[in-house]
């Protein structure tokens, strides 16, 4: 700290001695202040040989894959040693064969695609509505008074409670499933956005108003950027929620999709396919979450 202080003084002396022609006396750019954050990054880069193990990408990826690999090995051992009968626990090879079989029948691709499509459409609808309602409740006191209690009550309804109603109203088509997924995606977005908007720095908002911003311009210039990081973390939660609600919807009334694969395989006793569906849901959920996670990192870097 003290070395920094010395640096400051030195640079000030240089600055005033060297003189900044045309600039008023008040000028003393403190280059080291701005450089400080960059310097930290550079230090990390230049000393690549001394990057701690937990910061190296091969270690991060390998470490993340370690537990799944161990699980796979143990799973294979348990089944080859027949510690558990294969009727209760199919071997990894059987699950793989089931996957090949379903691919050859053209079903696996179709099921995965239809499930992903439902999640993406339902998630988009739910997220957009969540943003809208979150904005109304978070920005307007009247909106808060009128809407917040009702939405809070609807949020308290367990997801499965909607299924019978949606099936009667919207039949077994796509609408009922997408609606259920949209309900699932709506609430994480709504909750985070409305809460974040209520807590936007009042001083910044006042400064925005003082410089002539209001209405939509104030929202896009000050409030929306201020809550973007929260919005993205809400979206990430909503996406996870969308996959949960997808399975709920497909388990209880579908003729296609990974949830249908689960319920159909339960009826036929095909444990290998049940395992396959579970593994696929895990992979798809993690993949989409990682994509939003990358976006979240970018947003946090850019907007905070």
């Amino acid at each position: 700290m003290s070395s920094n202080d010395n640096l400051t003084t030195n640079e000030r002396v240089q600055a005033s001695a060297g003189g900044y022609p045309g600039l008023p006396v008040a000028v003393d750019p403190r280059a080291e202040v701005a450089a400080r954050s960059d310097a930290a990054d550079r230090a990390a880069d230049s000393a690549a040989g001394r990057v701690p193990l937990t910061r190296r990408s091969w270690f991060i990826i390998g470490g993340g894959a370690l537990v799944p690999a161990i699980v796979l090995v143990v799973w294979q051992l348990v089944t080859t040693l027949e510690l558990v009968p294969v009727s209760q626990l199919p071997s990894p090879v059987m699950v793989w064969d089931a996957a090949i079989d379903l691919i050859q029948r053209g079903q696996l691709g179709q099921y995965t695609a239809i499930s992903t499509q439902r999640v993406l459409i339902g998630f988009s609808i739910g997220a957009v509505l969540g943003l809208l309602f979150g904005a109304v409740v978070g920005l307007s006191r009247l909106g808060d008074i009128l809407l917040a209690p009702s939405l809070g009550a609807i949020r308290a309804v367990p997801s499965l409670a909607w299924v019978p109603l949606l099936i009667i109203w919207l039949k077994y088509g796509e609408e009922s499933k997408i609606t259920l997924i949209a309900i699932g995606a709506f609430f994480p977005v709504y909750t985070t956005v409305s809460a974040a908007l209520r807590h936007v720095d009042r001083q910044l908002v006042e400064a925005g108003r003082a410089f002539g911003l209001n209405g939509a311009r104030l929202f896009t210039t000050v409030q929306l950027p201020a809550v973007l990081p929260s919005v993205v973390s809400g979206l990430r939660l909503a996406l996870a929620q969308a996959w949960l609600f997808l399975v709920a919807a497909e388990l209880l009334g579908a003729s296609m999709g990974l949830g249908f694969l689960l319920s159909d395989s339960q009826n036929n006793g095909r444990l290998d396919r049940i395992f396959l569906a579970i593994v696929l849901l895990a992979l798809l959920g993690k993949l989409t979450d990682s994509l939003v996670g990358l976006f979240e990192r970018w947003v946090n870097k850019r907007w905070s």
């Binding site: 045309g22 600039l23 008023p24 202040v33 701005a34 954050s37 003082a210």
Partner: protein
Amino acid sequence: MPASVTQCFGSVGTCASASVPLVYPLRSILLRKFRMPPHSAAPVLPGSASAASGSTDAAYSVEFASVGRSFPSERGASRTVLRDVSITVKPGEVLAILGTSGCGKSTLLRIAGGLDSASAGRVLIDGSPVVGFDSRTAVGFQEPRLLPWRSITENVALGLPRGTSKSDGAARVARLIDLVGLGDFAGHRPREISGGMAQRASLARALARNPGVLLLDEPFGALDALTRLKMQDLLLDVHAAAPTTVLLVTHDVDEALQLADRIILLGRQSGVDGSTIAQEVVVPGARPRDRGSAELAELRGRLLDGLGIDRHGQARGVESTTAIPHFPY
């Protein structure tokens, strides 16, 4: 002390013209470029505000007429912060508002900018009442209040009046950033610069608005002592280049004496709720003023006394010799 200044204390009314020098030496080429008077023979730079947005460089008068403000408090009672503040600030004048903390000086400033509204009386700018977030004013807040996700340039550009064309706005912003000495940091984010630099950016943002009335709410209060002095000089340069009306709230008596044409001291009478103007002081001498002036030292002592600070002068047997008359004149 020049005789004219001494005489001037005889009456506040006649004094003001002498105490508001309208012509300042322009202290640098850059400042001269920054803004020329409209009638100037010099070519108008592309991007100068008067050419760009049609807004004039006019400084407006500010008139407080019996302004009072009370806030509702618990149990239905109300707490009066200001009462019966009446003062007229002439165009181009720098008025410092002094007072102890909590005396309502910021409230008075916020009322002038339309950030708050008076519960009694009214404020006129250029003869017409202040509206909410009045566009004729620009506020320099106590904190920088910069948008953290925008660069310094983008933050300063936020202050530009609506309808400024893109190229004119960019030129003007670049010039203001140079003026406050942040040229090398234009692309940085607020968190990457020091507090003093952020406060300068905040001042540049207020100036970008080309305001008829510049409202400064303890703008240098959070800065270290040396940076504060430099910022005061910067403000003087800016005011010299573009003599807008400035209302400056401060608790720093020296700052007020250094910058202002006139100082009002807000205070509370015992037994009465709410502050009002307890003293009004016309500061002698043209700016920039000698920071070591004995005359200012006398005024400082008097103002500190008004703020409830013991000046310890008489106690040490120092005799007060001054020609400055006491308020009310």
